[in-house]
Amino acid sequence: MIQVENLYKSFGDLEVLKEVDLEIEDGETIAIIGRSGSGKSVLMKHLVGLLKPDQGRVLVDDVDIGEIPYEELREIRQQFGVLFQGGALFDSMTSFENIAFPLEYFTTMSDDAIRDRVHECLDLVRLSDVGPKKPSELSGGMRKRVALARAIALEPRYMLYDEPTSGLDPETSNTIDELISQLSEELSVTSVVVTHDMHSVFSIADRAAFLHNCHLHWVGPVNDIHGQPDETLDRFVKANEYHVGDPLRATATQRGQP
């Protein structure tokens, strides 16, 4: 379980997050939505202690990750898989080496076992043949997916995805959405998905948290998103739906709405 308690964060004079409270239950998938620049990525980085709150705290399994020694924080972080917004692939390595990296450093797997696992992960993100390519030789969307493969390689308990489907075509987006759902169902991974894409939200998330004006404006089950009296949320959701007039994504929406 991840708990965010009364979190404040600003960069210099720029206030980004104010009194954010959020509880993420084990096994659930929560979507963090909000406009560009609303602090979604900043909130996500707090969950693994990459940023320190100015005030408030973050608890992972009841441990305040701001208070513990660095060594213990590192152990907690090993239970997380993080997909960064820009992918954050190591550009000195090939895709294969990127995905093998966590396996080499955190497991005692044999080279053969590592190779198999890497190929398995590449298959999961539908990129079987990019292993030997460096990140600079990949498209943006491909980089994102290799990064996703790297994040899931160790089968972490917690997955944090920062815009996993942005920049992908609708069909690949659906594949990734399915992968995220599959991970959370089969391995009961607790997932935090930062996204702009309401269709993803409806198809994969149990709950959504809407960041607006530095605050966590609304948190609730995805099925309650429609028909809220909340005008700001309504506008955000509607704007998002008008933008995507794509039939493929529309199916995803329908699937998500019972």
Binding site: V48, L50, E71, F80, F84, A88, F90
Partner: protein
């Protein structure tokens, strides 16, 4: 526990009060020392660093050999020609040239030339590499996996520096002296025998030892300053550019200071 990676150091239109700005160099020094302490403590198994160390030793050492050799050969040759020129009119035996050139090479030139060239070549490279890793969140990715990014990135680089610089120094000495011998015999003003005799005559074992201490120190300065600049880069491509320049320029300045300090304390 991390020093905040986002705060820029002293800039021209720094809004901080004067007292803070005066204290900034101490803040920087403190952060630098903390970073290095962190790099050499809380370590994982050796295998975590081994691969990186070998890569860095190749990059810093072997890949720098050609340019170091070139610079050493030329400065050895120039030093020999010029020493011969300065002594031309006097009735001093030719062997003196060797006994001037060789110690100069060993005491100062070989170490400082390697230092300066590598401040640009190695220092700038490390700062650019780590700076890019910082701004593209690769360092965050390492941390998020549960690796100690500081020791993972910095330890192999600094170690490679202090191991390979002395090696490069020895190479620079030998090649520099070789350059002197060659130009002397090619120009016909100094035979190899005279050169070597002169070098032997006043040879002090402390000279190469002192040079080794220097190169060790310079290796540490260049790699650690570059790691510091690179690791705490912020502000995108421009920030990487700033770090790269600062790493090269500041390590040159620190090399000069260290050179003087070592000469004053050890000679």
């Amino acid at each position: 526990m991390h020093a905040c990676p986002f705060s820029r150091d002293l800039t021209l239109n720094d809004p901080r009060p004067v007292a803070d700005r005066l204290l900034a160099p101490f803040y920087t020094l403190g952060r630098y020392i903390l970073l290095l302490t962190r790099a050499f403590t809380s370590l994982d198994e050796v295998r975590t660093y081994w691969g990186n160390l070998v890569t860095q030793m190749v990059r810093i050492g072997i890949d720098s050999l050609p340019i170091t050799a070139l610079a050493a050969a030329f400065s050895g040759a120039v030093l020999t020609v010029q020493t011969a020129y300065q002594l031309e009119t006097s009735f001093i035996p030719n062997t003196i040239i060797g006994s001037i050139v060789v110690p100069s090479m060993m005491l100062e030139l070989a170490a400082v030339i390697t230092g300066f060239i590598l401040a640009g070549r190695v220092g700038a490279r490390i700062a650019a590499e780590l700076g890019t890793m910082r701004v593209s969140e690769q360092i965050d990715a390492l941390e998020a996996m549960g690796l100690n990014s500081i020791s993972f990135l910095i330890l192999p680089r600094v170690l490679a520096g202090i191991i390979m610089f002395p090696v490069l120094y020895v190479a620079a000495c030998l090649i520099g002296i070789g350059g002197g011998v060659l130009i002397g015999s090619a120009g016909g003003f100094l035979s190899a025998q005279e050169f070597i005799d002169g070098a032997r005559q006043f040879f002090k074992p402390f000279d190469p030892f002192f040079g080794l201490i220097k190169s060790f120190t310079f290796g540490f300065i260049i790699t650690s300053v570059a790691c510091y600049k690179g690791y705490y880069t912020s502000g995108g491509a421009e920030g990487v550019g700033d770090s790269t320049t600062e790493a090269a320029v500041q390590s040159c300045v620190f090399i000069l200071i260290a050179d003087l300090l070592l000469a004053v304390t050890l000679l």
